[in-house]
């Protein structure tokens, strides 16, 4: 297949995802307000008991902010996966699958489209964070965006993998919430992982969000358990695995 065809195919799928995203204002609004809600209510509430014991020397709301950036990516990635199921239900998927595009091309377009949506929302939250006084610098903004970018590749792929396997929106909702909450809660967004019981610490190692949160904390707050580049390398490792599984899942996907 010609390279031009592949790029145009990827652009086509991306074009559609982004158009739909921009048209659904409710999604944009909820994606911004949910993390803010957590930041203020949860952050202030738990912060009042956690700040002295859990993270000495840190403002608790600043401590959990990287977790919310990761959260926006996680929730959006799952939302994107749900679109695959929805497209199948309303028959739009037929139009895409009958086009002369390889499934791999379609998958790549979906990943790029999902990443664009997720990053756009994370960026808005990031700028709200700056306004709220999270200690960002120009340099840490750039590195945060890069971190979110590579984190989104894997997570959007994960959402698409679930979407490719699920046939009903209900099934998708069930499975994706099984994925979302462990991903989010095991990532150390609310508490330092070093205080956790042993079995839970083991599980956190298998959560890509752990490394994203740690990397963001390193960049924004200057404190982390692993060096930044180690985190980046591990996130990229997750990306490679999830993109490969996603490509396979799309190739075997039935209508």
């Amino acid at each position: 297949m010609k390279l031009r065809r592949i790029f145009k195919g990827i652009y086509a799928i991306w074009y559609r995802e982004v158009k739909v995203f921009l048209r659904e204002k409710s999604r944009l609004v909820s994606a911004i307000f949910m993390p803010l809600f957590w930041y203020f209510i949860f952050g202030a509430g738990i912060g009042s008991i956690a700040s002295q014991t859990a993270v000495p020397g840190e403002n608790y709301q600043h401590f959990i902010f990287p977790g919310f950036l990761a959260m926006v990516i996680i929730f959006n990635a799952m939302f994107n996966g749900a679109y695959v199921v929805w497209d199948r239900k309303v028959d739009f998927l037929k139009e895409v699958l009958v086009a002369p595009l390889s499934r791999t091309t379609i998958f790549m377009g979906k990943v790029l489209g999902g990443m664009t949506d997720a990053l756009a929302q994370a960026l808005i939250l990031l700028f709200i964070g700056i306004v709220l006084g999270v200690p960002f610098t120009f340099f840490s903004v750039i590195l945060s965006i890069f971190t979110l970018f590579i984190f989104a590749i894997g997570l959007v792929s994960l959402g698409l993998i679930i979407g490719a396997f699920m046939e009903s929106p209900e099934g998708f909702g069930l499975v994706s919430s099984f994925a979302v909450y462990p991903l989010f809660l095991l990532a150390g967004a609310f508490y330092p992982l070093s205080n956790l019981p042993g079995w839970m610490q083991v599980m956190t190692h298998f959560d890509p969000a752990t490394y994203a949160v740690d990397a963001l904390r390193n960049v924004i707050l200057g404190a982390s358990s692993l060096p930044y580049l180690t985190n980046v390398a591990i996130i990229l490792g997750f990306d490679v695995v999830l993109v490969i599984i996603g490509t396979w899942a799309f190739n075997r996907m039935k209508l």
């Binding site: 297949m1 031009r4 065809r5 145009k8 195919g9 652009y11 086509a12 074009y15 559609r16 158009k19 739909v20 048209r23 659904e24 309303v90 028959d91 739009f92 037929k94 139009e95 895409v96 699958l97 009958v98 086009a99 002369p100 595009l101 390889s102 046939e167 039935k254 209508l255």
Partner: protein, 276 residues
């Protein structure tokens, strides 16, 4: 001698015990309008889905525009356009956006995309509505938009699965004229499925009457009507395709037509067996 646009050899699709398409052998010539006439559940849509590579045959083969549907699905897909029975456009996008997405997927040259969208939307009388969100279209408008979309990449072969289902009689006739002129002007091969007798009679050069996944008879509408001229049971009025259908299948097509709920049930059953 004209080249064959589509050839099927013992094309078969089974769902467990149910044989949806049973050893189908047809040869459709390049440039003809070919009709597949039959009641719901006769295997029309299943046949189309196999020919457009969305469904794998259980056995048998088919070539479309000279390419094998199993071995070279992407070459087949480049050659065809299809208008599905159920709406398959994104109703959160505008008509224009749906067509642009299609043009990109089918590698229409970038410089030509807007001009072509203009042209096909003019053909289906939707040019002044093309920047409206599809949600605001009526059923007929959406169908016309999807027909325009099927033509956008100028396919050699166009599949129309029940193109006029759910349209009012006026729009239906308008659509027939339109399909006819297209086939002539673009020298396009058109395969359409229908359970409307008049549609098969007025539009198609040849018609295959299918029932229970098999071809009961295949000929020109005129020959089909002439072939049962001697049948006493239909001599009381002028013979039409309804009589032809009754003669070859032993029942009236209306028996299986049912209401919308029946259609919905039939559709759900197919979906469920697809998912197995």
């Amino acid at each position: 001698m004209s080249m064959s646009a589509i050839v099927t050899t013992n094309l078969t699709k089974r769902y467990g015990d149910l044989v949806a398409v049973d050893n189908l052998n047809i040869s459709i010539e390049s440039g003809e309008i070919f009709g597949i006439l039959g009641p719901n559940g006769a295997g029309k849509t299943t046949t189309i889905m196999m020919l457009c590579t969305l469904l794998k045959p259980t056995s048998g083969t088919a070539t479309v525009n000279g390419f094998d549907v199993v071995k070279h699905p992407s070459r087949v897909r480049e050659s065809i356009g299809i208008v599905f029975q159920d709406p398959s456009s994104d109703d959160t996008l505008t008509g224009y956006e749906n067509l642009k997405l299609h043009a990109l997927m089918y590698d229409v040259p970038m410089k030509e995309i807007d001009a072509r969208i203009d042209r096909v939307m003019t053909l289906v009388d939707l040019k002044d509505r093309m920047h409206d969100i599809v949600k605001k279209y009526s059923g007929g408008m959406r169908r016309r938009m999807e027909i325009a979309r099927g033509l956008l990449h100028e396919p050699k072969i166009l599949f129309l699965d029940e193109p006029t289902i759910g349209l009012d009689p006026q729009t239906r006739e308008h659509m027939w004229k339109y399909i006819e002129s297209l086939a002539k002007r673009l020298n396009m091969t058109i395969i359409l499925t229908t359970h409307y007798m008049e549609e098969a009679e007025n539009l198609c050069r040849r018609v295959a009457i299918v029932d229970h996944g098999k071809i009961a008879v295949l000929d020109t509408p005129a020959n089909l009507i002439a072939s049962i001229g001697g049948d006493i049971s239909v001599k009381t009025h002028s013979i039409d395709m309804n009589d032809v259908f009754f003669h070859y299948t032993g029942r009236a097509i209306r028996e299986e037509e049912g209401d919308d709920m029946g259609r919905l049930r039939a559709y759900t059953n197919v979906r469920q067996s697809n998912n197995k």
